[in-house]
């Protein structure tokens, strides 16, 4: 350790040593100890937050999922009974399928629309910054308000959609957007896409603008078509941004219950039920805390893989 510390003295990033102590190792190690104490002191609030508000609750969730605890009564250990019950439960199986469809379709649509939007905004045009600001606005609006607003747009009798379709004779009947079993999921996904696309276009646009123009010019001189330029210049340059954005968005899309909570409450007949909302209704509606924890944890293995990959990626530019 002492030798490593001494190396650091010589090293360029050895600000630890600036205090003077080069000459005598005894003082150097004192300075190092001080530095260590200061570091832990500065990190104490952050570490407390991580331990008590994330690490402990996470372990408690696992423990809870192995009990039959209800709100207000002590639980008994039941082993994996909650999980086994889930996999025999028709509503849960449907929820699992819904969650996959919901997440995959929403993320795919956000990706395509977001990339299109970014490519358009990357073209040269007057007032482009005004358009960009306007197109990104949904990102800054609270999700709950987005969902409420769309619920009103989808309203059977007086909402904008039916109002518009009937005024312009595009439909003769009132369409029950959110309570029709075949339409509800599509409507929920449309809202998720509306709210989530700007995040994709923001990150993609930043990536596009970081590509040096010379690369395109060189490709053009070599006779590359527009499509070839996109495939061989743009896409490779954006690959890491694509991956990071999709992984982040997958975690957030899959675990966000607000859209379903406001738009459909999981209905009609569980057609739009997804696992975070099911966990919520199980734990707080049916008051089965243990079972609720089990529902929320069933999908954690998938999320954990994404989280681990992302953690490495998000630290890479600074930590390697």
């Amino acid at each position: 350790m002492a030798i490593r510390a001494h190396d650091a003295v010589a090293g360029r990033d050895g600000i630890a040593t600036v205090g003077s102590a080069q000459a005598r190792p005894g003082r150097a190690s004192l300075a190092l100890r001080r530095e260590r104490q200061l570091a832990y002191a500065l990190l104490t609030p952050t570490l407390l937050v991580i331990l008590f508000l994330v690490a402990y609750p996470f372990c408690a969730a696992i423990a809870l999922s192995l009990q039959d605890k209800m709100v207000g009564s002590p639980g008994r250990w039941v082993g994996l009974a909650n999980y086994l019950e889930l996999f025999r439960d028709e509503v849960f199986l449907r929820t699992a399928w819904n969650s996959v469809v919901y997440t995959v379709v929403a993320v795919a649509l956000k990706f395509v629309l977001g990339l299109t939007m970014a490519l358009i905004l990357d073209q040269e045009r007057r007032f482009n910054n005004v358009f960009r600001t306007l197109l990104f606005v949904p990102w800054a609006v609270p999700v709950i308000i987005v969902a409420l607003n769309w619920r009103w747009i989808f309203d059977d009798l007086s909402g904008f959609l039916n109002n518009f379709l009937i005024t312009f004779h595009l439909s003769r009947d009132i369409i029950s957007w959110l309570s029709d079993p075949s339409l509800a999921m599509g409507c929920v996904i449309a809202v998720v896409v509306w709210a989530g696309t700007p995040f994709y276009s923001m990150t993609f646009l930043a990536g596009l603008q970081a590509i040096p123009r010379e690369l395109y010019e060189a490709a053009e001189i070599d006779g590359a078509s527009i499509v070839q330029q996109f495939v061989y210049v743009t896409v490779p340059r954006l690959r890491t941004i694509f991956l990071t954005t999709v992984m982040l968005s997958t975690i957030w899309t899959a675990t966000n219950l607000q859209f379903v909570f406001v738009l459909t409450r999981g209905g009609p007949a569980s057609r739009t039920e997804i696992f975070p909302h099911l966990a919520y209704t199980t734990a707080l509606g049916a008051r089965r805390l243990g079972m609720g924890a089990a529902v929320s944890l069933v999908f954690f293995p998938v999320l954990a893989v994404l989280i681990l990959l992302l953690t490495r990626r998000m630290l890479r530019p600074t930590d390697d």
């Binding site: 205090g19 570091a39 990104f136 990150t203 982040l248």
Partner: protein, 280 residues
Amino acid sequence: MRSVSRTRRSLQWVGNTLLALMLVWTLVPFYWMIATSLKKDREIYGFEATLIPHQPTLANYARLFAKTPFILYLRNSTIIAVGTTIASLVFGTLGAYALARLRFPGRKVIARGLVFTYLVPPALLFIPLFAVMSTLRLVDTHQGLILTYLSFSVPFCTWLLMGYFRSVPLELEEAALVDGCTRLGSLVRVILPMSLPALAVVAFFAFTQSWNEFLYANVFVNSVEVRTVTTGLTLFIVEDVFFWGPMMAASFLSALPPLVIYLIFQRWVVKGLTLGAVKG
């Protein structure tokens, strides 16, 4: 060559058309929100429903403030969002400085733990957190909600500031330390003044994330005295069936604070986002 420039010109037209469509798709919901908030009930419901308000009125806004606790919700959201922002700035700055500039065992593990923590979704934590909050008697308090919000804002702030602090040239700080500045002194006098854009971005995220948060606010708060805007609004659906006028007025007003801040900080925010940031 010529064909490429011709393709480019036609692509410009395709782009303009798609841009127009996307603007409509993005802006119509906002139009509908604002139009509804300005209509009389007669124009909102039933056979006389209109697409454009014929007799615009602010009656819905008046009703919102006179007949509902909306102003209380606004107050609570403000207290909680400002409290979270201040606490995350302070904790984030201190932690980020340690991670960026000091050497101590466990540095990498802690940095990794931070990012991991930030990515663990609230949907996994709210059930056991509810038990924690009850034991600590923090249910239905502003402090309690601020505390839970720190669980996502502190890790994020620390991580973002850590990256930024590392980009402040080491020589500047070395000079300050040689001149007899303490560590904390150099943090305050050298690093912070150079990190104002990053601090602004961090403050923006902490504020909007807490202002927009719904799940914890819904689970850990029952009383009107502490209820925030996001949960308060969802209750309007149940409380009164014919409430879309005031509801849209409330939605518009509640969306304003994050929207205005977004417009002010726009350029920095986009830069902060590309570091891998927030909300999908």
